[in-house]
Point group: C2
Chain length 293, copies 2
């Protein structure tokens, strides 16, 4: 018997949806959709767009999950820290209204934890028991799987972006100094590369531009340093790196692996691989989270 599961991913720019079919141990993505978030229209309008997008997919799903770009309180289904969504989301009910509209409970999950779960079941983390995932985009998110399951600890485990990689570094939005999130953000890489966007910086790096390559090398070194802390602590089987910044390829991955090897030499060398699932990974992971929760 197969069952169908809905996943939604509310991002700062776009909302994505995926339908996932599970049959025994087999999992496959059967449909995907996307639309703009239009965050400037405010939380009510954004949540209506989430529900409208869901309705564009076949009904018949038996569980639903919703990925959010930040922190929430799982018990009450309200937002607690969603800096990449415009408007006031703190304390705002999210799970409740979306669940009412869909006619079933909605399991909330952080977007990078959702990506981690999707990569674990269907992507570059397949077959691993213990996995560390890092997503390099506007900010730096992360996720940890232990024993084949997402590890959340007291709620939002996986925040590798807030590892201190430069103790006297610049102030981060969280209040700490020298967080990976600050030192390897898309914006800081684009600025260091002298490019308007990180995508253009990545293209320049792939084409061999030395300034762009140096910008990715510096970011890769910081990512490797943060990952080294995760590796000595967890000795995972695999590390998955996703997000737009990873499109720079070797310009990022070579310095990353070098720093990781150098800093985590007490542990064996852990494979560092690219995420495989692309743009709908968060929605797919949200569907899996709803199905497994």
């Amino acid at each position: 018997m197969s069952s169908t599961h809905l996943g939604l991913d509310l991002g700062g720019t776009n909302i994505k949806a995926a339908l996932v079919e599970r049959c025994g141990g087999d999992v496959r993505v059967v449909a995907t959709e996307a639309c703009p978030t239009a965050a400037s229209e405010g939380p009510d309008a954004v949540l209506e767009r989430v529900v409208a997008l869901a309705s564009r997919l076949t009904s018949g799903f038996v569980t639903a999950g919703l990925a959010l770009p930040g922190h929430f309180d799982a018990a009450s289904g309200t937002g607690t820290l969603l800096p990449n969504l415009l408007g006031d989301w703190v304390g705002r009910p999210i799970g409740g209204p979306v669940g009412s509209a869909l006619g079933m409970p909605v399991a909330l999950v952080n977007d990078v934890r959702a990506l981690t779960l999707a990569e674990l079941r269907l992507g570059a983390g397949r077959g691993a028991s213990d996995l560390v995932c890092v997503a390099l985009g506007t900010g730096v998110g992360g996720g940890v799987a232990i024993g084949g399951r997402l590890h959340l600890g007291l709620g939002h485990a996986g925040e590798i972006g807030h590892t201190t990689v430069d103790p006297d570094g610049p102030l981060c939005g969280c209040g700490n100094r020298g967080c990976l999130d600050r030192m390897a953000s898309a914006e800081s890489i684009a600025a260091a590369a002298g490019a308007p966007t990180v995508a253009e910086a990545a293209a320049a790096a792939r084409a061999g531009d030395p300034v762009a390559r140096a910008a990715f090398a510096r970011a890769g070194e910081y990512v490797g340093r943060a990952l080294a802390g995760a590796v000595v602590l967890l000795w995972p089987e695999r590390i998955v790196v996703g997000g737009g910044v990873a499109d720079a390829g070797d310009a990022l991955f070579e310095p990353l692996r070098t720093e990781l090897r150098r800093r985590a030499c007490v542990a064996p060398e852990i494979p560092v691989v690219r995420a495989e699932l692309g743009t709908h990974a968060g929605a797919v992971g949200a569907a899996l989270w709803g199905a497994e929760a």
Copy 2:
């Protein structure tokens, strides 16, 4: 029905043994023993002393565990990295000969992972599901429990001592620079405090000596920084700090908690507590490891 389990802890200075009785969910320590390691007599003599110590405890145990001060290969039961034991332990069979002498298989476990398990079941970590433990002694060891079980990953997860806390810091024995193990070792604290031993430095700090207090404050800050990385990654319920360096009390714990709070501000404040089980914690943990393995 109760069962009795033997635990042995082979340290650089002393060998310890403990008998643990399990009855349903209840666990209690029924006997302990200790003797000098006399490491200079070489591996054969040391392993004979381990077995002789075990024979001083009542027989009738149904499982046995042995804690080692470093790394080993669990499959072959041989040493791989035991820098605190004199002589050549690399590739040397340990589990095999001790097991033959005891008449049953011996489960090997790292000494600080054993301490972590003991604190989780019987000590300061009781009732916690996810726990991070750090032991501050000659070196800095650690352990991680997830979902109420010791997490070992690919073998030796928990090596928080090899977290980089000062990227340009002094060379560590592992090959990295600025490891916590180097920056907060008993030796480095005693040297900074101008005391012959860390115990004397701790006594001076408790008595208010400003140089000694500054030495523990610096070490505490580094420990807090490494723990902050573990906290943002794992969001554990509790942190347990053991080892002789912890005897300095507030001179260590206050700067540690301040740095942890400052660096891990993305996570809730996690209680940092002293280890409770004292000198036989490793042997007790080895007994539990043998019983649970």
